[in-house]
């Protein structure tokens, strides 16, 4: 704490939150406006505003308990069911407030997919895992479902490893395969945004590498937001990086710049491993 300069004190920091928009996109895909989050009396997020550009990869980094997972889960409203959760401010997707009363949460989650920290396939076959999102939407067309399953498994680079036994139980796959299955499951319903909450933290380095390559490829079609504990990973995969500390957004901008020449001392200290 003492080593921090005045300017990086989280309570007083006002952060410039405008990564450059490409000429192609006139507005942000996702946008947080003055967001506060509370669990009962505890404030988990403190007045964060930032915009996320379409077809980019944005990484949230920061020490454990800094609020990055909470912040990520705002974008598909996964915090809604937590007892004592409340928030202020707005979360916009394509300019529309997703916390508006008119928004159907189930519909929102169909276009905002999520991949979790621990691979969590359903105790069903590989095929049925990927088909799940389509089935709960009421789609009956088996041919369409099969096409989507195969396409999604190909997209998540798992297909070649499982094509002969799609009926095998998903839980018999290795951890890395399970995680790619979970990615395929999220892709099958054609979301536009993919939220990833430390997707490689439970995996070995080789599996992690595969997932990182996959994230890179998916950027073409999806807007990806990834929470990670792994600095190198954030540096490798993301276009923009947001550094959160104790519920505050300390710094947000181009990944290259954050990792080579951060504006705040606290960011510098965290990235170089001096704390956190």
């Amino acid at each position: 704490m003492e080593s921090d300069s005045q300017s990086s004190n989280p309570k007083t920091t006002q952060v410039e939150t405008k990564p450059k928009l490409n000429s192609k996109h006139q507005s942000y895909k996702l946008q947080a406006q003055n967001v506060d989050v509370f669990y009962e009396d505890f404030q988990a997020i403190n007045n964060i505003s930032l915009g996320i550009v379409e077809n980019s990869i944005t990484a949230f980094i920061g020490p454990s308990g800094c609020g990055k997972s909470t912040f990520l889960r705002l974008f598909n409203r996964m915090n809604d069911y937590i007892d004592g959760f409340s928030m202020n401010g707005n979360i916009l997707m394509d300019g529309k407030d997703i916390y508006d009363e008119s928004v159907n949460v189930e519909e929102l989650r169909k276009i905002v997919g999520m991949v979790f920290q621990k691979p969590n396939p359903f105790p069903k076959s590989i095929y049925e895992n990927v088909a799940y999102g389509l089935r709960i939407q009421g789609i009956k067309d088996e041919e369409y479902i099969e096409n989507r399953v195969i396409e999604s498994l190909k997209q998540s680079t798992l297909y070649s490893e499982v094509e002969d036994n799609l009926d095998k139980m998903a839980l018999s796959l290795s951890g890395g395969q399970q995680q790619r299955l979970c990615i395929a499951r999220a892709l099958a319903v054609k979301p536009t945004v993919l939220l990833m909450d430390e997707p490689t933290s439970a995996l070995d380095p080789i599996s992690s590498g595969k997932i990182e390559d996959l994230i890179h490829e998916l950027k073409e079609d999806y807007t990806i937001v990834i929470v990670t504990h792994n600095m190198q990973q954030a540096g490798r995969v993301s276009d923009n990086t947001a550094f959160l500390y104790m519920g505050n957004l300390v710094e947000y901008g181009d990944t290259q710049k954050i990792f080579t020449n951060p504006e705040k001392d606290r960011t510098q200290n965290y990235i170089t491993g001096r704390f956190g």
Partner: protein, 285 residues
Amino acid sequence: MNRAQKNRLKDKVFKGLGITATFLGIVILAIFIGFILYQGMERISWEFVMSLPSRFAEQSGIYTAWMGTVWVLVCTTLISFPLGVGAGIYLEEYGKKNWWNTFLEINISNLAGVPSVIYGLLGLGVFVRMMKMGNSILAGSLTLSLLILPVIIVSTREALRAVPSTIKEASVAMGASKWQTIWHQILPASFGGILTGVILALSRAVGETAPLIVVGALVYVPFAPTSPLDEFTVLPVQIFNWVTRPQQEFVINAAAGIIVLLGITFVMNGIAVYLRNKWQSKMNW
């Protein structure tokens, strides 16, 4: 004796006590079963199972009694299964943490401890008299359902709680509604546990005598029931009746009846254990 020796001695004494306690239960049960088998086995025959009750012990059978037991069992299952599982799902998945749900939970736990004869009196007052069902199978089944509902609710909640929250999260994050998540993920994953609880509760209901006597299960029914509104008797009531007779022959009949009743409960418990093991190996996350 130093401390290490003392501790080792304590260890041995406690181990001995534990073994004695375990064996005491098993040995007493074995003696009881052995005695019953010795007494009643001679009466066990197809004829005994298929005969109507009679004034003469040698001609008397348990046909009406086990038919009554089957009727009561089926009706009780149909009533208590949906109600108990439904209540369990509500409390575990939908109920928020507020004073009302806490109040419900505490009372359900309390209800599980209420003596069964009290349920019998409730059944007599509400189902037999107020709702004018008479001494029918329906009234008896409703009473037994009340008796085992708390057990089913508690075991359902335990089975639901055993489903990892990561599965629920995954389903909800796919855009599934709460009910879709319960139907497609939580229930299939917990069904073995729920079924085990229901079967164990039912096997308790099979042996219940007191509430059914209060509700009006008759000790002598000359015909097997053909509808839920018929009068009835059940195996434990029939056994109770025979045991109270002075003639030795009827006591032998009672022993034979107990063998059949024990057989039914052992089979039900066996099914419950089988289902639990089968589901546990399938849901291995």
